[in-house]
Amino acid sequence: MNKILIVDDEPNILLSLEFLFKKEGYKVFIARDGEEALGIIEEMDPELVILDVMMPKVDGYEVCRHLKSRHLATKVIFLTAKSKQQEVQKGLNLGADLYLTKPFSTKDLVQKVKILMN
């Protein structure tokens, strides 16, 4: 079963995403900050990570950098409210596979995750 890690510091967003992907049949892990995320990545080695940028302790950029240097196969989707051109560029430069901005369409997100996972 495909493993997905969702990282966000907003409980309600975590809740909705967890619900969505569980229903799609993924094995879902959640983390509330970057540090927790790094722990889970080491332990569970998920195929895909959905990342917020602004988080306590370790931010999303940092997590992505780490992922792309150690876990080459892992896909990364940034899901964040930061929508300025240079912020998007920064995310993609770090090696993210997708950069989606909040608020997002659930259908669209599920669709894109599916494509990436294949």
Partner: protein
């Protein structure tokens, strides 16, 4: 006793040291590192004022006349602050006009007149020669004393080829030639010579202090002991100011030394010619008087000590400085003292000789060569190479003449008396110099006759008596007066008695001098050239930047001629450099013109002045240019133009300064605006970001609810979240608008009297449920009487609620709400929690809007991030303040509310009626 060989070895060893110092300073100056160009060396070099006369003679004079010796140092100290006015002006004039000596200065001021320069040079020479000779005498005498102690052989009787003093004089002449006449330019600075003189000043000071300390503390038991011993021998009159010592005498002696320190040729050389920066005067103004103070501290103790020790009167008081260490058989101290005296004498001889040789060559010999048509045509083209040799020869001649004078005349006089005679001679230049730089009317004839008359009186009242004493003139002249006329007895003109002979001479010579100068100036007419110079001298600070165009001259000069003339004196290389500098400064292309304009002619004349003196330079330049006579009106007209140009320039400068100020201000405003704009941008982007979070949740859950067929429990839960997030957004929007109103000052408070206690309790009550749910202990401590305060009740409640709500998020076990009334008419409200507290480095920012959102280092609490920022605004609107700190292991947010005095009383009253 010291052997003769040892003394000679040390003497010449000391000279060798001077050579070394001078040599190495010049070498290093050539490499661009100048040691001499600083105020301390400058001040030390001015101390060339203190000669062997100071070194030996002060003690001698103190031993006979008591404190009066001090006048010679009081004058210079008093006049030092005036340097800023007088010396600075003289320096500026000399620098811009290329003046290299006192004779040149006077001649230049009065129309570059040859006669005047020659007269001043001649009188300077006559006045200074005896002074140089007594330096040789001091060296010779000290040398003899060292050898034969208290029974000196008359050195005067030794033939010169056996006389050490003769060889020393020759040695000094060599030193002076080597380090004082390297350049043909008399205005050039002599780095090596200055350093050597500064070293000598330091050396003589230390040596004198050494012997002073020895006498005061080793021979006697401190100052008190010396004065007591002297008192026992009835010597009180020497160190107590007494009425009969005459304030007149003190006054005139101080005035005399004031003039001397300004205009003695050696002082002019050091203070003006060798000055490399006008600013050095600032420090020298107090350093030089300090030096004089230091070197005089021990004069009286040594004099008294000597009088007490040699009470039989066999020892000349002029030699106490040496005789005391000899008497106590301190050989090394004796040697040091001797070398100190030697250094005082040599520095004076060196500097005076350089100054005199400049005057003799530039104001006497060269003009004579140029005035005589025959000599002129013969020497004109060879003069360049000869100038320096004329100067070198003068140095030898001066020193040898001084030696002869010492042998023949000054051997018979005390050091001080000859020194003072020189002072009076130099004082004769004061009226024409001071008048020259402050009084435009002062004229050439006035100066000339003033100086000549002053000198005549000086010669008759001071020099003639010395000749009589030496036995060359009949004694009757003193007692009966010239031709038997008693009104002109040298020591009591017009029957004037009761003054010392020096004061007497000074009084008469200076009075007549000033009188003639002023009267003749008033009644004589200045030539246009002279008037031009007078204006430039008096108003030098107006002209110094535009000097070449403010010296009026009309005519034409063939450029190659001018160039050839300069080359004759400067050599090819320096001439090219000088022309290049001029072209650079004026922006004129010299290779394209054939005739030089007046400005360039003036420039060349100025350079030439520095080499051969201003009067000679004028003649030389005059021989290659065609000059037209110019009227006084033209002079004044051209000068006015120059001045107007200058003031126009000044106005322009002022305008551009104002413009720059305005543009600076604009830039500053622009910067502030830009910063405000950035802050606004930042705020909006944070607000947008914060809004997107609840919208994201709302949209996600709405879509889930729309698509899925969910169990009722989930449906309810998700709908509940949607409502909660909607509320969150509403709150955020409210608070943003709130803050915006506070920020822009549009927020209005509805102030009303309210009971503080009730308000606090109401706020607390609405939080009770929250604390209960979180399992937190909640304490309320209200410690004040019933109190009514004027405030916006809802807003204050909002602040308390915000603080309590924050506390509930961070507290571990308990929250405390405290309120008490403080003496400074304010109510203090505190909310405490036992959470981990605010990190120290965040305290200054915690009341900033969205601080948490931007700095997520800890787990994000629930809230808009605007609560504290708004609370702060509310409290400040009420005239209070809000802080956070740590207290007894708890985080404490505290804010104050001012309590109005009258309301408090009223509330008390109402309490009584209840």
């Amino acid at each position: 006793m010291l052997s003769k060989g040892l003394i000679i070895a040390f003497t010449f060893g000391y000279l060798a040291l001077l050579f070394a110092i001078a040599f190495f300073s010049e070498q290093s100056a050539k490499k661009g590192k100048s040691y001499a160009s600083n105020p301390y060396i400058y001040a030390l070099s001015l101390a060339v004022y203190c000669t062997a006369w100071t070194y030996y003679g002060s003690v001698g004079r103190a031993a006979t006349n008591g404190l009066e010796f001090l006048t010679i140092y009081i004058g210079p100290s008093l006049v030092a602050p005036l340097w800023w006015i007088i010396m600075r002006k003289i320096i500026r004039i000399s620098k811009v006009q290329g003046i290299s000596s006192i004779a040149d200065f006077i001649s230049s001021r009065y129309g570059k007149n040859i006669t005047l320069g020659g007269v001043v040079t001649l009188f300077c020479f006559l006045g200074i020669l005896p002074y140089i000779s007594i330096q040789i005498k001091a060296v010779a005498t000290s040398f003899d004393i060292l050898q034969y102690a208290e029974s000196p052989v008359q050195a005067l009787n030794i033939p010169f080829y056996q006389d050490t003093a003769f060889y020393l004089a020759i040695g000094l002449a060599f030193f002076t030639v080597l380090f004082g006449t390297r350049d043909a330019e008399a205005t050039a600075q002599h780095e090596g010579m200055v350093m050597a003189v500064a070293f000598e000043s330091l050396f003589k000071l230390l040596a004198f202090i050494a012997v002073g300390v020895f006498v005061t503390y080793f021979v006697y038991d401190g100052f008190k002991d010396i004065f007591e011993q002297a008192s026992l021998r009835n010597l009180d009159h020497l160190f107590v100011l007494q009425g009969d010592q005459g304030p007149t005498e003190w006054f005139w002696m101080s005035v005399l030394s004031m003039m001397a320190v300004l205009f003695l040729p050696r002082q002019f050389q050091m203070a003006v010619v060798e000055n490399s920066n006008e600013k050095h005067l600032d420090k020298a103004m107090w350093l030089f008087p300090l030096y004089l103070l230091l070197i005089n501290i021990f004069v009286i103790p040594i004099a008294l000590g000597g009088l007490v020790h040699f009470s039989d009167g066999n020892v000349d008081a002029d030699t106490f400085v040496l005789a005391l260490p000899i008497a106590y058989e301190k050989n090394w101290l004796t040697l040091l003292v001797y070398l100190g005296g030697f250094s005082a004498a040599t520095s004076m001889i060196i500097v005076s000789t350089i100054a005199l040789s400049n005057m003799i060559s530039n104001n006497l010999i060269i003009p004579i060569l140029l005035v005589n048509e025959k000599l002129k045509s013969k020497f004109q083209n060879e003069l360049g190479g000869r100038v320096i040799w004329i100067r070198r020869a003068s140095i030898f001649v001066i020193i040898l003449l001084a030696y002869v004078y010492y042998k023949e005349v000054s051997g018979q006089f005390s050091l001080v008396s000859i020194g003072l005679i020189s002072f009076v001679a130099i004082a004769q230049f004061t009226p024409s110099i001071i008048g020259g730089i402050f009084w435009k009317t002062g004229s050439r004839l006035g100066a000339l006759w003033g100086i000549i008359a002053g000198f005549g009186i000086w010669f008759y009242t001071l020099v003639v008596p010395t000749i009589i004493t030496a036995g060359y003139l009949p004694e009757s002249l003193m007692t009966e007066g010239l031709f038997g006329i008693s009104a002109i007895k040298p020591y009591s003109l017009l029957g004037m008695e009761g003054m010392s002979y020096v004061t007497h001479s000074l009084y008469f010579s200076l009075s007549i001098n000033i009188l003639l100068y002023v009267i003749i100036s008033l009644f004589s007419e200045q030539s246009s050239k002279e008037h031009n110079q007078a204006l430039v001298f008096v108003d030098i600070f107006k002209y110094s930047t535009t000097l070449d165009s403010s010296i009026v001259w009309k005519g034409q000069a063939y450029l190659p001629d001018l160039r050839a003339l300069l080359k004759n004196f400067l050599g090819e290389e320096k001439t090219s450099l000088a022309f290049a500098q001029y072209a650079d400064k004026s922006g004129k292309a010299l290779d394209k013109i054939r005739f030089a304009d007046p400005e360039l002619v003036n420039y060349c004349e100025r350079i030439l002045s520095g080499i051969i003196g201003s009067a000679s330079a004028r003649i030389m330049v005059g021989s290659v240019v065609k000059e037209e006579e110019i009227s006084m009106e033209e002079v004044l007209g051209i000068l006015r133009e120059t001045q107007e140009l200058k003031s126009l320039n000044l106005q322009l400068k002022q305008k551009s300064k104002e413009l720059k100020k305005a543009s600076d201000k604009l830039q500053e405003m622009n910067e502030t605006l830009r910063l405000n704009d950035m802050l606004k941008d930042d705020f909006i982007s944070t607000v947008t970001h914060e809004m997107k979070t609840p919208i994201t949740s709302i949209r996600a859950f709405s879509e889930i609810l729309l698509d899925e067929d969910l169990p009722d429990a989930d449906k309810k839960k998700f709908l509940h979240i949607i409502i909660e997030e909607t509320n969150r957004m509403t709150r955020l929007i409210d608070q943003v608008l709130d803050l915006e109103r506070f920020d822009s000052g549009r927020q209005k408070l509805s102030m009303d009297r309210a009971d503080a206690k009730i308000l606090i309790l109401q706020a607390a009550e609405s939080m009770l449920q929250v604390f209960k749910e979180k399992g937190l202990k909640f304490d309320i401590q209200l410690d004040f009487e019933d109190l009514e305060i004027s405030m916006d009740e809802d807003r204050i409640k909002q602040v308390i609620l915000n603080l309590l709500s924050n506390a509930s998020k961070f507290a571990k076990t308990k929250v405390v709400l405290e309120a008490k009334y403080e003496k400074e008419n304010q109510l203090l409200i505190r909310v405490l929690d036992d959470g981990k507290g605010v990190p120290k480095e965040e305290i200054p920012y915690i009341f900033d809007k969205f601080f948490q959102a931007k700095n997520q280092t800890s787990k994000k609490p629930i809230g808009s991030g605007l609560g504290l920022a708004i609370s702060k605004k509310i409290v400040e609107y009420h005239g209070g303040s809000i802080h956070v700190f740590r207290k007894a292991g708890m985080t404490c947010f505290e804010f104050t509310l001012p309590v109005q005095e009258e309301l408090k009383k009223k509330s008390k009253l109402s309490n009584q009626y209840e």
